[in-house]
Amino acid sequence: MRHMAAPLTDNRDTGVVGFWPWFYQRISGVLLIFLLVVHIWMGHFSGLRAVIDGRQEELVLYSIVQQRLAHGLFIFVDFSLLALVIYHGLNGMRNIFLEWPPAANRAKAMTLGLWVLGVVTFAYGAWALLAFIL
Protein backbone atom coordinates (compact mmCIF):
# COMPACT_ATOMS: atom_id res chain seq x y z
CA MET A 1 0.00 0.00 0.00
CA ARG A 2 2.87 2.30 -0.93
CA HIS A 3 0.59 5.06 -2.22
CA MET A 4 -1.44 5.28 1.01
CA ALA A 5 1.16 7.56 2.52
CA ALA A 6 0.28 9.37 5.74
CA PRO A 7 -3.21 10.55 4.90
CA LEU A 8 -4.64 13.50 6.83
CA THR A 9 -1.32 14.48 8.34
CA ASP A 10 0.53 15.59 5.22
CA ASN A 11 -1.24 18.91 4.99
CA ARG A 12 0.82 21.36 6.93
CA ASP A 13 -1.16 24.50 7.43
CA THR A 14 1.43 27.21 7.74
CA GLY A 15 -1.36 29.72 7.94
CA VAL A 16 -0.28 31.26 4.68
CA VAL A 17 -3.40 30.55 2.71
CA GLY A 18 -6.11 30.59 5.22
CA PHE A 19 -9.49 31.42 6.55
CA TRP A 20 -8.80 35.02 7.67
CA PRO A 21 -7.66 36.54 4.35
CA TRP A 22 -10.68 34.89 2.74
CA PHE A 23 -12.99 36.21 5.43
CA TYR A 24 -11.65 39.76 5.54
CA GLN A 25 -11.72 40.05 1.75
CA ARG A 26 -15.49 39.59 1.95
CA ILE A 27 -15.96 41.90 4.93
CA SER A 28 -13.87 44.64 3.33
CA GLY A 29 -15.60 44.10 0.00
CA VAL A 30 -19.07 44.62 1.40
CA LEU A 31 -18.01 47.69 3.40
CA LEU A 32 -16.30 49.09 0.32
CA ILE A 33 -19.53 48.97 -1.65
CA PHE A 34 -21.15 51.38 0.77
CA LEU A 35 -18.09 53.58 1.24
CA LEU A 36 -17.44 53.84 -2.49
CA VAL A 37 -21.01 54.80 -3.26
CA VAL A 38 -20.75 57.67 -0.77
CA HIS A 39 -17.26 58.64 -1.95
CA ILE A 40 -18.09 58.65 -5.66
CA TRP A 41 -21.40 60.40 -5.10
CA MET A 42 -19.87 63.13 -2.96
CA GLY A 43 -16.84 63.55 -5.17
CA HIS A 44 -18.38 63.46 -8.59
CA PHE A 45 -22.12 63.78 -8.59
CA SER A 46 -23.33 65.97 -5.76
CA GLY A 47 -22.23 69.14 -7.54
CA LEU A 48 -23.07 67.99 -11.06
CA ARG A 49 -26.15 70.20 -11.50
CA ALA A 50 -24.18 73.26 -10.44
CA VAL A 51 -21.40 72.53 -12.92
CA ILE A 52 -23.80 71.89 -15.80
CA ASP A 53 -25.68 75.14 -15.05
CA GLY A 54 -22.42 77.02 -14.94
CA ARG A 55 -22.75 78.07 -11.29
CA GLN A 56 -19.70 76.04 -10.36
CA GLU A 57 -16.58 75.78 -12.46
CA GLU A 58 -15.52 72.22 -11.74
CA LEU A 59 -16.73 69.21 -9.73
CA VAL A 60 -13.43 68.77 -7.95
CA LEU A 61 -11.20 71.59 -6.76
CA TYR A 62 -9.21 72.17 -3.60
CA SER A 63 -11.84 74.43 -2.04
CA ILE A 64 -14.64 71.95 -2.70
CA VAL A 65 -12.73 68.99 -1.27
CA GLN A 66 -11.68 71.01 1.74
CA GLN A 67 -15.29 71.96 2.45
CA ARG A 68 -16.34 68.31 2.36
CA LEU A 69 -13.52 67.17 4.58
CA ALA A 70 -14.45 69.72 7.20
CA HIS A 71 -17.21 67.34 8.24
CA GLY A 72 -16.37 64.45 10.59
CA LEU A 73 -18.53 62.03 8.66
CA PHE A 74 -16.56 62.45 5.44
CA ILE A 75 -13.23 62.37 7.25
CA PHE A 76 -14.35 59.00 8.63
CA VAL A 77 -15.54 57.82 5.21
CA ASP A 78 -12.35 58.80 3.40
CA PHE A 79 -9.93 57.38 5.96
CA SER A 80 -11.90 54.12 6.29
CA LEU A 81 -12.08 53.90 2.52
CA LEU A 82 -8.33 54.39 2.21
CA ALA A 83 -7.54 51.64 4.73
CA LEU A 84 -10.10 49.14 3.44
CA VAL A 85 -9.42 49.61 -0.25
CA ILE A 86 -5.68 49.19 0.25
CA TYR A 87 -6.32 46.03 2.29
CA HIS A 88 -8.80 44.61 -0.21
CA GLY A 89 -6.64 45.44 -3.23
CA LEU A 90 -3.39 44.07 -1.86
CA ASN A 91 -5.10 40.98 -0.42
CA GLY A 92 -6.45 40.38 -3.91
CA MET A 93 -2.99 40.78 -5.39
CA ARG A 94 -1.72 38.30 -2.81
CA ASN A 95 -4.16 35.69 -4.11
CA ILE A 96 -2.74 36.19 -7.57
CA PHE A 97 0.87 36.02 -6.35
CA LEU A 98 0.17 32.76 -4.50
CA GLU A 99 -0.45 31.21 -7.91
CA TRP A 100 2.82 32.50 -9.37
CA PRO A 101 5.67 30.21 -8.27
CA PRO A 102 8.41 32.87 -7.95
CA ALA A 103 6.29 34.64 -5.32
CA ALA A 104 4.43 31.60 -4.01
CA ASN A 105 7.67 29.91 -3.02
CA ARG A 106 8.47 32.90 -0.82
CA ALA A 107 4.94 33.30 0.48
CA LYS A 108 5.77 34.65 3.92
CA ALA A 109 8.22 37.24 2.58
CA MET A 110 5.78 38.22 -0.14
CA THR A 111 3.00 38.69 2.41
CA LEU A 112 5.24 40.81 4.60
CA GLY A 113 6.23 42.87 1.58
CA LEU A 114 2.60 43.55 0.76
CA TRP A 115 1.86 44.59 4.33
CA VAL A 116 4.76 47.04 4.25
CA LEU A 117 3.55 48.42 0.92
CA GLY A 118 0.05 48.73 2.34
CA VAL A 119 1.08 50.58 5.47
CA VAL A 120 3.35 52.94 3.53
CA THR A 121 0.60 53.63 1.00
CA PHE A 122 -1.90 54.32 3.76
CA ALA A 123 0.49 56.69 5.48
CA TYR A 124 1.12 58.54 2.22
CA GLY A 125 -2.59 58.77 1.44
CA ALA A 126 -3.42 59.90 4.98
CA TRP A 127 -0.77 62.61 4.72
CA ALA A 128 -2.47 63.83 1.53
CA LEU A 129 -5.89 63.84 3.18
CA LEU A 130 -4.56 65.78 6.15
CA ALA A 131 -3.54 68.59 3.81
CA PHE A 132 -7.24 69.29 3.27
CA ILE A 133 -8.15 69.02 6.91
CA LEU A 134 -5.39 70.84 8.77
Binding site: A5, D10, N11, D13, T14, V17, G18, F19, N95, W100
Partner: protein, 247 residues
Protein backbone atom coordinates in the same frame (compact mmCIF):
# COMPACT_ATOMS: atom_id res chain seq x y z
CA UNK B 1 -22.85 9.21 -43.47
CA UNK B 2 -19.89 11.55 -43.45
CA UNK B 3 -16.33 10.72 -42.47
CA UNK B 4 -14.80 12.51 -39.56
CA UNK B 5 -11.25 13.68 -39.05
CA UNK B 6 -9.94 12.37 -35.76
CA UNK B 7 -6.95 14.48 -34.72
CA UNK B 8 -5.04 13.13 -31.74
CA UNK B 9 -2.23 14.71 -29.75
CA UNK B 10 0.54 12.14 -29.67
CA UNK B 11 3.74 11.86 -27.68
CA UNK B 12 6.97 12.36 -29.59
CA UNK B 13 8.87 9.23 -30.62
CA UNK B 14 12.16 10.17 -28.98
CA UNK B 15 13.04 11.80 -25.68
CA UNK B 16 13.75 15.11 -27.33
CA UNK B 17 10.84 15.38 -29.73
CA UNK B 18 7.81 17.18 -28.38
CA UNK B 19 4.17 16.20 -28.83
CA UNK B 20 2.55 16.41 -32.27
CA UNK B 21 -0.92 16.14 -33.73
CA UNK B 22 -1.82 13.26 -36.02
CA UNK B 23 -5.01 13.12 -38.05
CA UNK B 24 -6.95 10.06 -39.16
CA UNK B 25 -9.96 9.79 -41.45
CA UNK B 26 -12.55 7.71 -39.68
CA UNK B 27 -15.82 6.56 -41.26
CA UNK B 28 -18.96 7.16 -39.28
CA UNK B 29 -19.66 3.57 -38.21
CA UNK B 30 -23.05 4.41 -36.70
CA UNK B 31 -24.92 7.61 -35.95
CA UNK B 32 -24.42 6.84 -32.24
CA UNK B 33 -20.64 6.57 -32.66
CA UNK B 34 -18.69 7.84 -29.66
CA UNK B 35 -15.22 9.38 -29.60
CA UNK B 36 -14.04 6.12 -28.01
CA UNK B 37 -15.48 4.18 -30.95
CA UNK B 38 -13.48 6.42 -33.27
CA UNK B 39 -10.29 5.87 -31.26
CA UNK B 40 -10.76 2.09 -31.24
CA UNK B 41 -11.52 2.01 -34.96
CA UNK B 42 -8.36 4.04 -35.63
CA UNK B 43 -6.27 1.75 -33.45
CA UNK B 44 -7.63 -1.37 -35.12
CA UNK B 45 -7.54 -0.18 -38.72
CA UNK B 46 -4.86 2.47 -39.10
CA UNK B 47 -2.57 3.02 -36.14
CA UNK B 48 -2.01 0.12 -33.76
CA UNK B 49 0.43 2.18 -31.65
CA UNK B 50 -2.22 4.73 -30.67
CA UNK B 51 -2.35 4.65 -26.86
CA UNK B 52 -5.46 5.43 -24.79
CA UNK B 53 -7.22 4.06 -21.72
CA UNK B 54 -10.68 2.57 -21.75
CA UNK B 55 -12.69 -0.12 -19.98
CA UNK B 56 -16.45 -0.18 -19.41
CA UNK B 57 -17.45 2.01 -22.41
CA UNK B 58 -20.68 3.00 -20.62
CA UNK B 59 -19.59 6.04 -18.53
CA UNK B 60 -19.36 4.04 -15.32
CA UNK B 61 -15.68 3.42 -14.70
CA UNK B 62 -14.14 6.81 -15.45
CA UNK B 63 -11.12 5.34 -17.28
CA UNK B 64 -11.39 7.07 -20.65
CA UNK B 65 -11.14 10.69 -19.55
CA UNK B 66 -9.65 12.97 -22.23
CA UNK B 67 -10.04 16.49 -23.64
CA UNK B 68 -12.21 16.65 -26.71
CA UNK B 69 -12.28 19.85 -28.78
CA UNK B 70 -10.79 21.68 -25.83
CA UNK B 71 -13.24 20.41 -23.24
CA UNK B 72 -12.85 17.58 -20.70
CA UNK B 73 -15.05 14.56 -21.28
CA UNK B 74 -15.31 10.77 -21.23
CA UNK B 75 -14.46 9.43 -24.68
CA UNK B 76 -17.13 6.73 -24.35
CA UNK B 77 -19.75 9.24 -23.36
CA UNK B 78 -19.15 11.87 -26.03
CA UNK B 79 -21.07 11.20 -29.22
CA UNK B 80 -19.33 12.36 -32.37
CA UNK B 81 -22.60 13.76 -33.70
CA UNK B 82 -22.91 16.04 -30.67
CA UNK B 83 -19.62 17.61 -31.75
CA UNK B 84 -19.83 17.78 -35.53
CA UNK B 85 -23.44 17.09 -36.42
CA UNK B 86 -24.16 14.73 -39.31
CA UNK B 87 -21.95 16.45 -41.86
CA UNK B 88 -18.63 15.24 -40.46
CA UNK B 89 -15.83 17.48 -39.29
CA UNK B 90 -12.83 17.47 -37.01
CA UNK B 91 -12.68 15.96 -33.55
CA UNK B 92 -9.53 16.92 -31.66
CA UNK B 93 -8.54 14.69 -28.76
CA UNK B 94 -5.74 15.32 -26.28
CA UNK B 95 -4.80 13.96 -22.87
CA UNK B 96 -6.15 15.32 -19.59
CA UNK B 97 -4.23 18.22 -18.07
CA UNK B 98 -2.30 18.51 -14.80
CA UNK B 99 -1.14 14.89 -14.87
CA UNK B 100 2.05 13.52 -16.41
CA UNK B 101 1.51 12.11 -19.90
CA UNK B 102 2.68 8.50 -20.18
CA UNK B 103 2.00 8.17 -23.90
CA UNK B 104 -0.45 9.76 -26.34
CA UNK B 105 -3.73 10.02 -24.41
CA UNK B 106 -2.61 8.00 -21.39
CA UNK B 107 -1.85 9.97 -18.22
CA UNK B 108 -0.43 8.80 -14.90
CA UNK B 109 -3.07 9.29 -12.19
CA UNK B 110 -0.75 8.97 -9.16
CA UNK B 111 -0.94 12.63 -8.13
CA UNK B 112 -4.74 12.59 -8.43
CA UNK B 113 -5.01 9.62 -6.04
CA UNK B 114 -2.48 11.19 -3.71
CA UNK B 115 -4.71 14.23 -3.34
CA UNK B 116 -7.59 11.93 -2.38
CA UNK B 117 -5.35 10.32 0.25
CA UNK B 118 -4.48 13.72 1.65
CA UNK B 119 -8.09 14.24 2.72
CA UNK B 120 -8.55 10.59 3.67
CA UNK B 121 -10.83 9.29 0.95
CA UNK B 122 -11.87 6.12 2.79
CA UNK B 123 -14.80 6.10 5.21
CA UNK B 124 -13.66 5.50 8.78
CA UNK B 125 -16.42 4.41 11.16
CA UNK B 126 -16.70 5.91 14.62
CA UNK B 127 -15.33 3.86 17.49
CA UNK B 128 -18.56 3.34 19.39
CA UNK B 129 -20.35 0.21 18.29
CA UNK B 130 -23.81 1.04 19.52
CA UNK B 131 -25.58 -0.83 16.75
CA UNK B 132 -26.09 -0.01 13.07
CA UNK B 133 -26.27 3.63 12.04
CA UNK B 134 -29.66 4.94 11.06
CA UNK B 135 -29.69 7.59 8.39
CA UNK B 136 -33.11 7.69 6.87
CA UNK B 137 -33.48 8.14 3.09
CA UNK B 138 -35.38 11.41 3.37
CA UNK B 139 -33.17 12.88 6.08
CA UNK B 140 -31.35 16.17 5.61
CA UNK B 141 -28.02 14.38 5.95
CA UNK B 142 -28.86 11.95 3.19
CA UNK B 143 -30.01 14.72 0.87
CA UNK B 144 -26.84 16.69 1.56
CA UNK B 145 -24.50 13.81 0.80
CA UNK B 146 -26.30 11.99 -2.04
CA UNK B 147 -25.34 14.22 -5.01
CA UNK B 148 -21.68 13.90 -4.02
CA UNK B 149 -21.54 10.11 -3.79
CA UNK B 150 -21.61 9.52 -7.55
CA UNK B 151 -17.93 10.25 -8.15
CA UNK B 152 -16.21 7.74 -10.43
CA UNK B 153 -12.77 9.32 -9.88
CA UNK B 154 -12.31 9.98 -13.59
CA UNK B 155 -10.11 13.01 -12.91
CA UNK B 156 -11.86 15.22 -15.45
CA UNK B 157 -12.60 17.87 -12.81
CA UNK B 158 -8.94 17.96 -11.77
CA UNK B 159 -7.97 18.39 -15.42
CA UNK B 160 -10.48 21.17 -15.99
CA UNK B 161 -9.65 23.16 -12.86
CA UNK B 162 -7.61 26.32 -13.55
CA UNK B 163 -6.38 26.41 -9.96
CA UNK B 164 -4.94 22.90 -10.27
CA UNK B 165 -3.03 24.26 -13.25
CA UNK B 166 -1.68 27.22 -11.31
CA UNK B 167 -0.96 25.38 -8.04
CA UNK B 168 0.40 21.88 -8.50
CA UNK B 169 -0.23 21.11 -4.82
CA UNK B 170 -3.92 22.04 -4.92
CA UNK B 171 -6.05 19.26 -3.46
CA UNK B 172 -8.49 19.64 -6.31
CA UNK B 173 -12.23 19.21 -6.84
CA UNK B 174 -12.50 15.42 -6.53
CA UNK B 175 -10.63 15.20 -3.23
CA UNK B 176 -12.57 18.11 -1.76
CA UNK B 177 -15.88 16.73 -2.99
CA UNK B 178 -15.06 13.42 -1.28
CA UNK B 179 -13.97 15.24 1.87
CA UNK B 180 -17.29 17.07 1.95
CA UNK B 181 -19.28 13.85 1.55
CA UNK B 182 -17.44 12.22 4.45
CA UNK B 183 -17.32 15.29 6.70
CA UNK B 184 -21.11 15.52 6.31
CA UNK B 185 -21.51 11.87 7.28
CA UNK B 186 -22.46 11.52 10.94
CA UNK B 187 -21.20 7.92 10.99
CA UNK B 188 -17.65 8.95 10.07
CA UNK B 189 -15.09 9.27 12.83
CA UNK B 190 -12.36 11.44 11.24
CA UNK B 191 -14.45 14.43 10.18
CA UNK B 192 -12.42 16.88 12.24
CA UNK B 193 -9.10 15.85 10.70
CA UNK B 194 -10.60 15.76 7.24
CA UNK B 195 -11.91 19.28 7.60
CA UNK B 196 -8.53 20.44 8.82
CA UNK B 197 -6.82 18.70 5.91
CA UNK B 198 -9.24 20.39 3.48
CA UNK B 199 -8.55 23.82 4.94
CA UNK B 200 -4.74 23.76 4.69
CA UNK B 201 -2.38 25.65 2.42
CA UNK B 202 -3.54 23.94 -0.76
CA UNK B 203 -7.17 23.35 0.08
CA UNK B 204 -10.55 24.99 -0.04
CA UNK B 205 -9.34 28.59 0.25
CA UNK B 206 -7.73 28.26 -3.16
CA UNK B 207 -11.04 27.56 -4.85
CA UNK B 208 -12.20 30.70 -6.67
CA UNK B 209 -15.61 29.33 -7.66
CA UNK B 210 -14.66 29.12 -11.33
CA UNK B 211 -17.05 26.16 -11.74
CA UNK B 212 -14.97 24.39 -14.38
CA UNK B 213 -15.20 21.19 -12.33
CA UNK B 214 -18.99 21.31 -12.14
CA UNK B 215 -19.18 22.10 -15.86
CA UNK B 216 -17.33 18.92 -16.94
CA UNK B 217 -18.34 16.32 -14.33
CA UNK B 218 -19.84 13.37 -16.25
CA UNK B 219 -21.94 12.49 -13.23
CA UNK B 220 -23.37 15.98 -12.84
CA UNK B 221 -21.98 16.35 -9.32
CA UNK B 222 -22.24 19.92 -7.99
CA UNK B 223 -18.58 19.89 -6.95
CA UNK B 224 -18.26 23.62 -6.32
CA UNK B 225 -21.16 23.34 -3.87
CA UNK B 226 -19.17 20.74 -1.92
CA UNK B 227 -16.16 23.03 -1.62
CA UNK B 228 -18.34 25.98 -0.63
CA UNK B 229 -19.99 23.69 1.93
CA UNK B 230 -16.59 22.95 3.45
CA UNK B 231 -15.78 26.67 3.64
CA UNK B 232 -19.05 27.28 5.45
CA UNK B 233 -18.32 24.45 7.90
CA UNK B 234 -14.94 25.96 8.76
CA UNK B 235 -16.54 29.39 9.15
CA UNK B 236 -19.24 28.08 11.50
CA UNK B 237 -16.64 26.19 13.55
CA UNK B 238 -14.49 29.30 13.89
CA UNK B 239 -17.51 31.29 14.95
CA UNK B 240 -18.42 28.64 17.53
CA UNK B 241 -14.92 28.57 18.97
CA UNK B 242 -14.82 32.36 19.15
CA UNK B 243 -18.13 32.49 20.99
CA UNK B 244 -16.87 29.71 23.20
CA UNK B 245 -19.19 26.90 22.17
CA UNK B 246 -16.14 24.87 21.23
CA UNK B 247 -16.08 22.05 18.72
Amino acid sequence: MADITLTVKRTGDTEDSGPYWQSFTVPEIADTMSVLDALIWTQQNIEPTLAFRRACRVKMCGTCGVRINGREGLACGTLVRSLVGDRGGEVRVEPMRHLPVVRDLVTAPGVFYQRLNQVGAAFTPKDDSSGPAQILPDSKERKTIDPHRECIYCGLCYSACSVAGLDSGYLGPAALNRAFALVSDSRDGTGKQRLQASAGDHGIWRCHTIFECTAVCPKGIPITEAIEGLKRKVFVNKLKSLIGLGR
